[in-house]
Symmetry: C2
Subunit: 122 residues, 2 copies
Amino acid sequence: MFAVNLLKELEHVDEYWSPRVVGQVNDQFIKVAKLKGSFVWHKHDEEDELFYIVKGCLVIEYEDEHITLREGDFHVVPRGAMHNPVAEDECWIALIESTTTKHTGDIVVDKTRSIEQQLGER
Amino acid sequence: MFAVNLLKELEHVDEYWSPRVVGQVNDQFIKVAKLKGSFVWHKHDEEDELFYIVKGCLVIEYEDEHITLREGDFHVVPRGAMHNPVAEDECWIALIESTTTKHTGDIVVDKTRSIEQQLGER
């Protein structure tokens, strides 16, 4: 039995856009990530994805709108929705997503991390 | 599309031990709750339950140990484990649990809230 502190876990992250699995509840992984810049447009056909802001500010771009998230906010990207996270300045987040969710959906780019990479970096 | 701020949601909670559903990601509800005092020993046979501390301090008692959680910590109570949350002072938390999870497992006490009550208070 142990506690996980989101801030402390994030202090160990040294690469942007590279989520690290720090826990699991039922069929969902809890991950932490540092973000800076623009990610990549993608979607997850079968899975929602929750963004929670630990520090900083994040914009989730959608095709016809965008939403700005600040510290203590969470937002759920609905399954099937094309989206692109953009952090003007460094942003620290936690993610909740299904254990089956692929990092960049059905596309693969330089930033794409496999689930093995996300698990292995602990 | 909207953001939910955990602190702001918690400011609206006026009853201890009465979780309020503030979001859903896949098959999991996101809830907020204010806690004070000792809850009740119970378990969830089929579901894990995640506690995240927004403000204050919470002890999760198990039959043979206990774990102390502070602001920014999360902890997953494994399915099947008898546990009792205890907050010496007021504590503000978020919970992640399956949409099927019953508040106090298979027992019913005065503090027990139905899922309809947890949803209806929004």
